[in-house]
Symmetry: C2
Subunit: 330 residues, 2 copies
């Protein structure tokens, strides 16, 4: 049975559903004939936006609520077949400036969502969006799932706890759950107003606005997932019983350094655009992890997932989207 | 300079200071001439008791407060040289039944204590009582600090986060901190009313009461720290700059299976006493980790610590204490 058939007629809840990845997933699932409910609190600093579901309004249900709202969540998880648990505070800098909010959203709210599932819908399958940030500074590259977790910011610590609550509830209570450790995800509907999701958002905005962007250092290696690939992985994890209780890295088809990435982005922009190399700001240096790229062999082997959209292509698609819709993302 | 000289005249705050390890530490530090403040909330299900500082009342300051009380903690950390951060919810079963309280104490309160240090006393040195529970079921034995963390209960996840906040605040903000992953700690002043600290407490109580105790399974391997050894390790970590930002396992001088332990305990009781072998209860099985014992080579090498009190001797000392003071621990 293919993905589309697996989700046809199924009830799916997406937390952070008006955000970058959530809204792209909602489009896919609506096309598959799923009954999709999007939960989002539209916190201005986060990724949610009603424009992200422009044209989709009649095919999904939108419920404005905060994942920290225990009572609302206890109702919303009921009778759902799948929960894609994407709501989160994603900014590393914000997590250092306001560690309590990060803890509430990435840690406490995750626990209460799982408690709600345990009490009201133990048959649900949950897919949790974790992050490569929890590895911290890698000992060796590429990083696989056996690498120690040594988070370097409050966000990383809380996401690590949030991920483990999911694995625990799978193992102890049989609430089936899979965690995917996402790497830098990019694509249409990403946050470009600031660097809260990824620095690449700011680069894209400035490029589309015809302004130069800054590349810090430039030598650091990173990998990138186009959002459609990330959505593919989540849907694959949702429908696989072999994925229950497992943690998988996502990764890009290759590692690039940030200078190469900047060059690729300008190339994807038809050769237009400029950037400047800057040294790393001090407050970022303290929580920086150096080079990172993932070994995604584990999910490739278990679920047959691999990145399909090459960086050059993905960047071009992303630029196309934001050239058309820039005003809605400023 | 020896330990005693290092602490003479120093101001020391101990959270969980009326508890098992905290009160034993307070006695040692008072003997060393430190100015000791004990913070404890005396939650009945936890380890705190005023009897734990019987005879010591005039040599320490007692401040009843909960570590979740942000304002009180922000005051109490001020002007302290050392913080021994021992307050915690320790029961694995309670953490599953009430995961929110465990999160508040082991996760949120730890973050707020560190924030208090950052804002009001960044020169303080913090020693955090972490736990071997965060390793989960070992891949190989003995377990060293490079073993993956795969906690099997809510308590383990929250303690993992609590530990990492300490390492993070050391690395990012220079709040010097060391985390010690304690194994089963036993000795005078341990909680024996129930198994919330360790099953061994219940064994000791029943033995002193002249009743048979239950040994579950009996084949599992464990290691044990006598409380004086655990206190030694914490004091050594506090005064070592090499320990800053580090995580160390504690461990026992050898691993014993639970049946051997039961036999040793009866031997330490002058050969008096009986036990029965029972199979593992189902609700414990789900969060049990099988065999565990630590490799404590890292702290041995870095701080010169090793366990000094052999199990047989430590059990005898513990039984002596509870024979004298049983009524105060029921």
């Amino acid at each position: 049975m293919d993905q589309a058939q697996s989700f046809a007629g199924k009830r799916v809840l997406i937390t952070g559903g008006l955000g970058f990845i959530g809204s792209n997933m909602a489009r896919r699932l609506a096309d598959y004939g799923a009954k999709v409910t999007l939960v989002d609190s539209l916190i201005p600093e986060y990724g949610g936006s009603l424009f992200n579901i422009a044209g989709l309004e009649d095919r999904v249900l939108v419920n404005i609520a905060d994942v920290r709202d225990r009572h609302s969540m206890a109702y919303l998880v009921q009778a759902q077949d799948y929960l894609f648990n994407l709501a989160g505070q994603t900014s590393h800098m914000d997590s250092m400036e306001d560690p309590y909010t990060d803890l509430e959203i990435n840690c406490l709210a995750q626990l209460s969502i799982l408690e709600a599932c345990r009490q009201h819908n133990p048959a649900i399958k949950v897919v949790f969006a974790s992050t490569r940030q929890i590895y911290g500074k890698p000992d060796q590259l590429p990083v696989n799932e056996n690498h120690l977790l040594r988070p370097v910011d409050v966000n990383g610590i809380n996401k690590m706890a949030g991920e483990w609550y999911h694995i625990l509830y799978n193992n102890v209570y049989g609430i089936r759950a899979t965690a995917l450790r996402l790497t830098n995800t990019y694509g249409p509907r990403m946050r470009i107003r600031d660097a809260r999701q990824t620095f690449l958002g700011v680069w894209i905005r400035l490029l589309v606005q015809g302004q130069p962007f800054e590349v810090w250092d430039g030598q650091q290696l990173r990998d990138f997932s186009f959002v459609d690939d990330a959505v593919d992985a989540m849907l694959a994890a949702a429908i696989s019983e072999q994925a229950n209780g497992r943690v998988f890295n996502l990764g890009g088809e290759r590692a690039v350094n940030l200078r190469e990435l900047a060059d690729l982005l300008i190339k994807a922009n038809g050769g237009e655009g400029h950037y400047e190399i800057r040294s790393f700001p001090a407050n970022r240096q303290r929580i920086d992890i150096g080079d990172y790229y993932a070994d995604y062999g584990c999910i490739a082997k278990t679920l047959g997932w691999e990145p399909r959209v090459h960086l050059q292509k993905g960047l071009a698609l992303t630029l196309d989207f934001f050239r058309q819709h820039l005003q809605n993302y400023l």
